[in-house]
């Protein structure tokens, strides 16, 4: 498995310029715009934006080079390739957590803005893994091109749906309830909630993996 994580890391090298650009551009944009509200959500936004190249690029490069044929000629089973893709990309996305924790601390200290909590970062990471769990089986069943259409729709729904959902929540609940929710997410009281979300994502991860294996075993390469 470590060979595949090494491969995924190597594949990521081609995206390093883009990732660095995003990593610099987004904070600069928000700081220059002087909007502390957006800056607050910066680490959580960064999770979504930085995870995109990791999960999509990994599949895109395999597809572009038709490298699954190369990989299948190695002493590997199809099941292993699917597992490796799931674990490899998820491991890289999880690697973002400590990096973003550092970024959050830096913003808190230097920009003097109370950013979204660690809770929000972990939740965003779980959300990205969840999206991948929906995307991968479609990719293994229908191929990259068709799956990409679905992925774009999913991201549009997420990007447009979340602000809409937050607006609905803020209208539906009293200010007191929202401040209680915020408190939960910024204290240890949020940990069980986070664990529950993590368990849900882990279950979905497992089911998605099993489904992808079934699809990939039957797929013509």
């Amino acid at each position: 498995m470590k060979n595949f994580i090494y491969k995924e890391l190597s594949l990521l090298k081609s995206q390093i310029k883009f990732i660095l650009f995003i990593a610099v551009f987004i904070p600069v944009f928000f700081i220059v715009s002087g909007n502390a509200v957006e800056l607050q959500y910066l680490p959580a936004i960064a999770v979504i934006v930085l995870s995109l190249p990791i999960s999509i690029n990994s599949i895109y490069i395999d597809e572009k080079n038709n490298s699954n044929r190369f990989l299948l000629s190695l002493p590997l089973a199809r099941d292993q390739l699917v597992k490796a893709k799931y674990i490899g990309t998820s491991a890289l996305i999880l690697l973002l957590i400590p990096l973003l924790f550092i970024a959050e601390t830096v913003i808190d200290v230097f920009a003097k803005v109370n950013t979204s909590s660690y809770f929000a970062i972990i939740l965003s990471v779980l959300m990205v893994i969840l999206l991948n769990c929906l995307f991968y089986p479609v990719n293994y069943k229908l191929g990259y091109m068709k799956a990409m259409h679905l992925y774009r729709i999913m991201y549009l729904v997420v990007f447009m749906g979340i602000p809409f959902l937050l607006a609905r929540i803020s209208r539906s609940f009293s200010a007191d309830t929202i401040s209680r929710l915020k408190k939960i997410s910024s204290t240890a009281a949020g940990i069980p909630l986070l664990l529950a979300a993590a368990c849900f994502v882990a279950l979905l991860f497992y089911l998605s993996l099993k489904l992808s294996i079934v699809f990939y075993r039957k797929r013509e390469i």
Binding site: Y6, S14, I61, N65, N66, S67, R69, L72, L74, P75
Partner: protein, 292 residues
């Protein structure tokens, strides 16, 4: 275990093409040339063997294990595969590709890989996208030969190579054969390459195996004949294979030259038969070509 590779009635259906009851076997320590026209089913058959493609029915055994069993994954350590096209990661270097592939083989020998790279004039620092088709094939070969494989499956390895590189490739394959007791299944359009190194010849056409025989026996048993048009008749046709029209007559293959000579004598005492030992190219043309 005598057979290193055995295919038994392998079938695979596409919308416009089908592999039909493909059966053949390859003994340990021998080279089999796999010949067929474009689209005849060579690559599909090889893909089914290595596990890149699934097949609908039949059985493929490699080193005594079905390639559908869990053990096959481990057995692939003993197989070297070179595909017709390159499927390496274009943005990575030769060294990275060798290093990555090598991590999956317990018998990987990095110094052997470097040696083959040197021999094939492959610079390890070059990116795959900077390599020509022939150089990519050489990289595939360097990988396939650097983990002490017992079975080499080569899909048109010589098609992108210049004559000198082709000669080198055949020399290397013969060296490998001598030193490793390795078996080779080698698909090619270039019958001269197969004639040079193969012990067995397997011909495929339209998804069916039409012939699988020891090369020397094949060349020994058949005769290439040329006849005048006027002598062609049903009785004679019984002895002829793959008749093709040529200027002033027709050419064909036969397993029974004497019978044809007798028939011709019976029909016309002055009739003369041109007959010679065929080369693989002639055999290929007459077996695969349509009867005319």
């Amino acid at each position: 275990m005598k057979n290193i590779l055995k295919l038994e009635k392998v079938n695979k259906k596409f919308t416009d093409f089908q592999l039909k009851d493909v059966s053949f076997s390859l003994e340990r320590g021998f080279v089999m040339g796999f010949i067929g026209k474009n689209g005849a089913g060579k690559t599909t058959t090889l893909n089914c063997i290595i596990g890149i493609s699934n097949y609908d029915s039949g059985e493929i055994e490699i080193l005594g294990e079905s390639n559908r069993s869990h053990a096959f994954c481990k057995l692939k350590e003993k197989i070297g595969y070179v595909s017709e096209e390159s499927f390496f990661y274009e943005n990575f270097t030769v060294a990275w590709t060798g290093n990555f592939a090598g991590k999956f083989y317990s018998g990987w020998d990095p110094s052997l890989f470097s040696e083959y790279c040197r021999r094939f004039e492959l610079k390890q620092t070059r990116k795959i996208k900077e390599l020509s088709k022939g150089m990519k094939t050489k990289l595939g070969l360097a990988i396939a030969l650097s983990h002490k494989a017992e079975l080499l499956i080569l899909d048109e390895p010589s098609s992108g190579l210049d004559p000198e590189a082709r000669r080198d490739l055949l020399d290397i394959l013969m060296e490998v054969m001598e030193s490793n007791e390795c078996s080779i299944l080698f698909s090619s359009h270039i019958t001269a390459d197969i004639q040079k190194i193969a012990d067995y010849v397997c011909m495929i056409d339209n998804g069916r195996i039409i012939l699988c025989e020891e090369k020397d026996k094949l060349l020994e048993n058949y005769h290439f004949v040329q006849l005048d048009k006027k002598y062609r008749n049903k009785e004679l046709d019984k002895y002829l294979l793959g008749c093709r029209e040529i200027k002033n007559g027709y050419s064909a293959l036969t397993r029974d030259k004497t019978a044809i000579e007798k028939l011709l004598k019976k029909q016309n005492r002055s009739a003369r038969l041109f007959a010679e030992k065929p080369d693989l190219d002639n055999l290929f043309l007459h077996f695969i070509g349509e009867d005319k």
